[in-house]
Amino acid sequence: MNTQNGKSQIALEFSQEMERINRKTRLINTMPLIILFVLVFIMSVVAEGFFSLYNFQTILSQLSIMLVMSMGLTFVILIGSIDLSGEGLGGFAGAVTSLLVLNGKNTNNFGIWGILFVIVAVTLIGILSGVIHVKGKMPSFMVTYSISSIMAGFAVLSYKGQPAMIKYPFFTQLSQGTFIGIPILTWISIIVFCIAYILQTRTKFGTYLFAIGDNENIVRNTGINIDLVKVKVFAWSAFCIGLAGVMGAVRIGRGVVDIGVGIVFPAITAVVVGGTSLSGGKGGVVNSLIGALIVTIINNGLILLGVSTYIQAAVQGIIIIAAVALSVEHDRKGICK
């Protein structure tokens, strides 16, 4: 009888302990949203001009390219991998686009077909990264970083010297146009978000993303082709990078390779700050949307406050560390690499 009580006691404590961890997880899951609201509140109070229609439009405009890229990265990070090819691959997409549409450097004028060609080509490169990663059993960060370097090289080679000035009128419309007050580029990013959301929640592909990130063995034992899913993930990520690169060219109006520089890190930050775990299996595209808003608002607010660019970068780094610290689970004694 005595031991039976002992068992109940431990079983009870065990379930209490699990319940405590669950409560904490739920709190942590809502953290990004809380951080977002707190940030909006603080910025509205301290930064003059933050809480205005004009500034919201600015934020939405600043958000667009990063959001597109983070939609690709979310899936990659959900399966526990990483894609660092954004800089080179995005730059490549922008540079080649500028050479295929009406421009000041050559006589090409493929218009919309040029854009489609670029995005398909970049997606194929994503498939290549994925295949090298799964078949060559090489770490994804290594493969994608190398691909980034290679493609940055190709991008510079493509325009030999001066990058092309884009003269395609459609691009001007895209970069300056708005629809119900929201920039067209932002609408594009919202469409990408919706596609990603549907992929994540309404297809088996989406289901497998979480499962692979959580425990690959279970997925393998269920008889699912994990390699294929992973290649698809890298293809999707490259698709988003390609689109982001084209959007960059639209915004700058030139096919310079630097389009990609400085967008990968903020996009990864957006994903992580939003609560998608770098070890995979937890989070999703809604989290990344919140994360992208947080990162953009920090940026925007600091500019409004007139903080110098150098200090801006430092403050941004500090706020990001703070936000990640609040939104990850520290309880688990895992090895953090």
């Binding site: 002992g6 431990i10 209490q16 088996k204 997925v219």
Partner: protein, 508 residues
């Protein structure tokens, strides 16, 4: 009445390097039967389940299901043959919904143009769950929202669903320690469900350390010992005492454990553990460790002994109680702190936790005691190598040189390298977690001598033995744990060792 036979196992054997995990096991499973499997840790129950599920391949022997040859290579193949297993560690994906988990890998039957019909899936999942009498679960909610017991019922429902045969013949479900963290009411619900399954003609293999539960639910019981199936009992012939007797392993000679060298512990206290607890794992553990003493901790998996060791060596932080070393209270949040406090542990998984396989013998030995081989702030390679050379001879480590990578050594020799590291350090308290795991008999004896050496040097040792016999043979005191509490304490002087049977009674 002869019942229809579903699964026949003939002479199944599994040989791992260094250990025979399963030896010539033959059992039958009939339609609508509940089979209990009992045995000590390492008796071969888990290995048998792994072979039936296709997680491991047998070295010898074969299986037949419904008279057809059955040789699964993957769990998926086992499922298709109507065999499913509920693992001790839950295998649900936390961040997927209940229905996504249940129909995981089978989404195609709910897909149209690539889009999954989640509504229909959620409805059907309710249907699957109703088979196990679980209600009040929202199948669209993510799994992590539910408590452990509910998750287990979800998993059982899933396993039943995935192991349905296409020809609609009956299935067999393997349950590995399903009750270890369930409360009494939850166990009752589980048993009710199990009985419902077998009433439909399905069969269940129930593995548990809880003999009372096995006796309550099983129609037939197989007892395992040292990788062998030592006896088969019908429900009416079985009781706890018979099971205890059949389960306990062979007793080795006193010479094997070097009993003549067992040290009578001194009165000098090294470590005092008071009311130590880790919420959800163990409670209220108190004992003292003296110089020269070897304390063996016995208990089944889930008794809390592993977690107790993790707390003592600083890998987990206790939620209550204190650890005093030389009368002073010490708190360790990380293993390096407990090493500083004088506690060194040999972890259970040598390859993963104790050695750096690609480093040399010499480097592996010096790892926990760089201060001894320092010269002007740098590591003196000369001192490091001299130290290794000494230990290599002293411990009879069989290797071409001290520059051999540890990954090239046999289990026994690798373990001796780990012991050399202990000997090189000055830690007065040693925690040996399965010190002879995966080690051949010759090396085992050498390790036993080493343990005697260490206790002659007045070190205090806590040991979790690979077998009960080993714990008894080595220890001068034995602590028995069950359900997270200390159930009994045995003195084990060299001339009056307790019987395995007596200890087992407090374990299960």
């Amino acid at each position: 009445m002869q019942k229809e036979n579903i699964l026949t196992i003939n002479g199944l054997t599994k040989q791992y390097p260094g250990t025979l995990a399963l030896s010539d096991v033959s059992i039958n499973i009939n339609k609508g039967e509940i089979i209990g499997l009992v045995g000590e840790n390492g008796a071969g129950k888990s290995t048998l389940l792994k072979l039936i599920m296709g997680l491991e391949q047998p070295t010898k022997g074969d299986m037949q299901i419904y008279g057809k040859k059955y040789n699964p290579k993957t769990p998926l193949e086992a499922n298709k043959n109507g065999i499913g297993m509920v693992f001790q560690e839950q295998s649900l994906i936390q961040n997927l919904s209940v229905s996504e988990n249940i129909f995981f890998g089978r989404e195609d039957s709910y897909s149209k143009f690539g889009f999954v019909n989640k509504n229909k899936m959620n409805k059907d999942a309710e249907e699957v769950l109703s088979q196990v009498n679980v209600s009040g679960i929202k199948t669209s909610k993510k799994v992590f929202n539910y408590d452990f017991a509910t998750r287990q019922m979800i998993e059982i429902a899933k396993v039943f669903y995935v192991s349905q045969r296409e020809d609609e013949k009956n299935s067999i479900i393997l349950l590995d320690e399903p009750t270890s963290v369930l409360s009494e009411d939850e166990v009752k619900l589980l048993f009710k469900n199990i009985k419902k399954f077998v009433a439909k003609g399905d069969s269940v293999i129930f593995v548990s350390h809880r003999l009372d539960e096995v006796l309550e639910i099983s129609d037939r019981i197989y007892v395992f010992k040292d990788g062998q199936n030592v006896c088969e009992l019908n429900k009416e012939n079985a009781n706890e005492n018979i099971l205890y007797e059949k389960m306990v392993g062979k007793t080795a000679s006193g010479e094997y454990y070097k009993l003549n060298r067992q040290v009578t512990p001194s009165k000098k206290e090294l470590m005092k553990i008071e009311k130590l607890g880790l919420k959800g794992y163990f409670n209220d553990i108190s004992f003292s460790l003296h110089e020269g003493e070897v304390i063996g901790i016995c208990g089944v998996i889930g008794s809390g002994k592993e977690e107790l060791c993790e707390v003592i060596c600083g890998d987990k932080i206790p939620t209550s109680g204190t650890i005093k070393i030389h009368g002073e209270e010490k708190v360790s949040k990380e293993p390096y702190q407990s090493l500083r406090n004088g506690i060194l542990s040999i972890p259970k998984e040598r390859r993963e936790e104790a050695i750096i396989p690609d480093n040399t013998i010499s480097e592996n030995i010096s790892m926990s005691n760089y201060s001894k081989i320092k010269l002007n702030g740098f590591i003196s390679k000369k001192k490091e190598d001299e130290q290794a050379q000494t230990f290599m001879e002293e411990l009879n480590i069989k290797a071409p040189s001290i520059f051999q990578k540890v990954s090239n050594l046999s289990g026994g020799n690798a373990q001796k390298v780990v012991f050399a590291r202990i000997l090189a350090s000055d830690a007065p308290i040693l925690l040996l977690n399965h010190p002879t795991r995966g080690v051949d008999i010759g090396a085992k004896e050498e390790i036993y001598s080493l343990i005697r050496d260490l206790s002659e040097q007045n070190k205090g040792i806590i040991v979790i033995g690979d077998t009960l016999d080993e714990s008894i043979g080595l220890s001068s005191k034995i602590l028995v744990m069950k359900d997270g509490t200390l159930t009994h304490e045995f003195d084990a002087p060299s001339d009056n060792k307790p019987e395995q049977l007596d200890i087992v009674k407090y374990m299960m």
